[in-house]
Symmetry: C2
Subunit: 334 residues, 2 copies
DNA sequence: CTGAAAGCGCTTACAG
DNA sequence: CTGAAAGCGCTTACAG
């Protein structure tokens, strides 16, 4: 069933059929009604390949998500998709590993799909430096900042990770903690982990806390299992630790389990804080003290900007979104 | 940059360029080398809309996931994508709400994308009954069975939900429990929930357990928050409950939290079992006794069958995949 | 308001 | 082995 069949069936030409399909005004009511009726009856749908080939443009937005099991990104993704669908804008989502090159992925997408805009959920700036210049559609990075890059079509809405983890440190220091451990993220390849880690280091310095990076920082991927193993290692390295900063809630979940398995209790023996504020952090036992990233705000702002920029390309924006320290049950004053 | 430019640049015709692009054998080495060099130098990528329009077929597979935050499906999705990419097969994934109509979604996909095969992660058979006849590509449903349907191009690999939840019941009964609650899923719209529930009912009957469906079964969506609220309600309805069957691990997580908030302990006061065996179930406190669905096997089998059937359409298969009862820490004998 | 026609970038018989 | 040409299903000036 093609546009030709509809033309034949309705007694009009393909041009007119195409016009009603695309809501052009210059069609008589009579023709429109007739053609619509035929389309309805035959359940016709225009071929999108032909349409896009002709139009030399594609209808949809793309979303690249770094990390398949990243609950924070999933949360944001869901919200973005909901907002987008309210505007009748479909989006294609691609998942890549947390260590993969998202710019390469975007480049491939541009060639194959020609999206009119791209959301990046998670980004490593190293990948952007050179390669991004080949991407021309509006792009928005979420949860970390790209303000150090200077591309007109690359914006970001982010949590000030460094500031937030600094706050976490201070909070724990105020609660009397002196012996810290930090787990999570590979500093080399993970943008987000390294700024969070930087905030921790700053916090340690300002609070005169001794921190031996080799023994007290254990890098790991963003998963429960990795958080679990890293914590076991940390506990071996530094048995006197009283406060653990996990660089994400998922990692914190593994940490709490590891502490239990070593026969200690959270927060009575060891306090744990997370980062992200995903749903799980409010249902685990004990509830996790963490940084809540404002995923609603990030989703709303990024969708608004994207919709605007796909119609009126403008200059880049880099706005931080306020976070919140959620004081819950996993920290104890000592 | 189009195939015409490449033709001009290389001194050959578009036909020959197209042939090397598609790895046809009937091209001289000389022509191939020359053309490949030009393609390389100009960074040319064929336009996929034109290609697909011409071929009347699309290269990729589609995956429809019911429920954005469903960790089990995410786990399977990740595995399927990995296996697919080993074979150089890209896949497009679409998320829909756990209550949405996946067949409608598939139909839209077929019109717009023309995928060569579709994986359904989660399926409600009601939606398939009539509408599926309009889908002609090979399709595979995961985690529930479609054997009651009779379509040649619709297969499934599944966990025997009814049997597994029956097993859960028996396990709890063997541990001395008599007062049960069941939470999760809307029986009307959710295929998976209703077969799990059926298994529970069977278990109750065989073990002579009194079960008042109105008071002891609380339906809810597959989220922690909903599991939490449902459990609170259950606890109000039936204060003497000693065992709660949550129809998924996510729901169970909410349940455990709710029990704690009511000042009771798991498993000392109330035993809780889940369903799925997602990563979280092994890291929460206490570790969850649950049914492990074999996501590895389901991913492998479904990818193998899909790859086979996209080349050699065959008849449908409906195989159950063995599950496993994971006895962990959330059940106590009384 | 409408139709006939060109053309988007490819692939693939067909002829040579 | 290679080129010229038709055609995939649409959209959009152009002419009327």
């Amino acid at each position: 069933m093609t546009i030709k069949d509809i033309a034949k069936l309705s007694g009009y030409g393909v041009g007119t059929v195409s016009r009603v399909l695309n809501n052009h005004p210059d069609v008589s009511d009579k023709a429109r009604d007739k053609i619509l009726a035929v389309i309805e009856a035959s359940n016709f749908q225009p071929n999108s390949n032909a349409r896009h080939l002709k139009r030399q443009t594609v209808s949809s937005l793309a979303i690249i998500v770094k990390g398949n099991q990243n609950m924070l990104f999933l949360d944001i993704l869901e919200k973005i998709q909901m907002l987008l669908s309210e505007h009748g804008e479909p989006a294609e989502v691609s998942y890549i590993d947390e260590d993969s090159n998202e710019v390469e992925c975007a480049l491939a997408l541009c060639r194959e799909r020609n999206p009119k805009g791209i959301f990046f959920l998670g980004a490593n700036l190293n990948y952007f430096t050179d390669a991004f210049k080949n991407i021309e559609v509006p792009c928005i990075v979420l949860t970390n900042s790209v303000s150090s890059l200077d591309y007109d079509n690359l914006s970001s809405f982010y949590t000030d990770d460094e500031d937030a983890s600094y706050r976490l440190c201070s909070y724990l220091a105020e609660h009397g903690h002196k012996h810290f451990g930090v787990i999570g993220g590979s500093l080399a390849v993970n943008q987000i982990a390294s700024s969070r880690y930087k905030g921790c280091i700053k916090g340690f310095k300002e609070n005169n806390i001794l921190f031996d990076e080799d023994k007290m920082y254990i890098p790991c991927r963003f998963s429960m299992e990795d958080g679990y193993q890293a914590t076991l290692k940390l506990l071996d390295n530094t048995p006197d630790v009283t406060a653990i900063i996990a660089l994400s809630d998922t990692i914190a979940t593994g940490a709490i389990r590891a502490i239990c398995d070593r026969g200690k209790r959270v927060p009575d023996d060891i306090s744990v804080v997370g980062f992200d504020g995903i749903s799980l952090s409010n249902y685990c036992v004990p509830r996790l003290t963490t940084i809540r990233q404002d995923t609603d705000a990030m989703a709303i702002k990024s969708v608004e900007l994207m919709l605007l920029q796909t119609h009126y390309p403008g200059s880049a924006r880099n706005d931080s979104v306020p976070y919140e320290l959620l004081e819950r049950e996993s920290v104890k004053a000592i």
